[in-house]
Symmetry: C2
Subunit: 144 residues, 2 copies
């Protein structure tokens, strides 16, 4: 679980304590192949630490965010989730179940000169989010 280890190290280096609860949250994040919402993270992490409180999950996310270990994203649908590692990637959100996947390929940068010309804006950043149906929901749809 190298991801979890490095996040733990980041926390320690920043002077935060490594508690059972934080370890459980880190582990839940590392174990999930896809970004999770705070609630999902709570449910996962409780397996490792049953008495974990939801507030602690939010506090841990806050701390990790401060340290730069995770990013909190707000999807167009209003749902929010935790993305790890933060940085240059975008998300696809399932319109059926809300599952989120990440992808890094992006060609928006090549569009920017044209938009600058068209609008006069000096473009600094972009937000790209795709919506669709995840493999699981696609399979279920076909099964019906």
């Amino acid at each position: 679980m190298s991801g979890s280890t490095s996040l733990a190290e980041q926390l320690k280096m920043a002077g935060f304590r490594m508690t059972r609860q934080r370890a459980a949250v880190l582990r839940a994040m590392a174990d999930s192949p896809t970004p999770l919402s705070a609630l999902q993270l709570w449910n996962q992490a409780k397996r490792n630490c049953p008495c974990l409180g939801l507030a602690t999950v939010y506090r841990t996310l806050d701390v990790l965010n401060m340290v730069g270990g995770v990013e909190r994203c707000h999807a167009a649908s209003g749902r929010s989730f935790v993305s790890c590692p933060p940085g240059d990637h975008h998300h696809v959100v399932c319109v059926v179940c809300g599952r989120v996947a990440e992808f890094s390929r992006c060609n928006v940068a090549s569009l920017i000169p044209e938009v600058s010309r068209e609008t006069g804006f000096h473009v600094e950043s972009h937000l790209l989010e795709l919506a669709g149906i995840c493999p699981t929901c696609l399979a279920e749809e076909k099964a019906e």
Copy 2:
């Protein structure tokens, strides 16, 4: 306020009624050069229609969104709305003053096959929003 008029027409064409409350919301949106949150919109619209309820603002936004007359603006925390012309376009938002411009050029579609392959998602739609500095704020920055 041509923006407001055309939104009103869009509503009527879609079979919705034009009420005093909706007119107040439309007018508030048309009068604002920047995206507004539901709460801000409520406060503005109440000037034209003092007894306006907040729920009505949300309902009106819903209806307008359905009709394609407004869109969520994500740059500012994803909680605000802009009125916009119908049709395929995206927004550039000024990070300084909040002003929004539209552009139609978009190359995201060509990205979708790759993302589908990478994530297994069946991609149906995309959201693209650029952030930067508008011509007015650029000029002011240079003047300093």
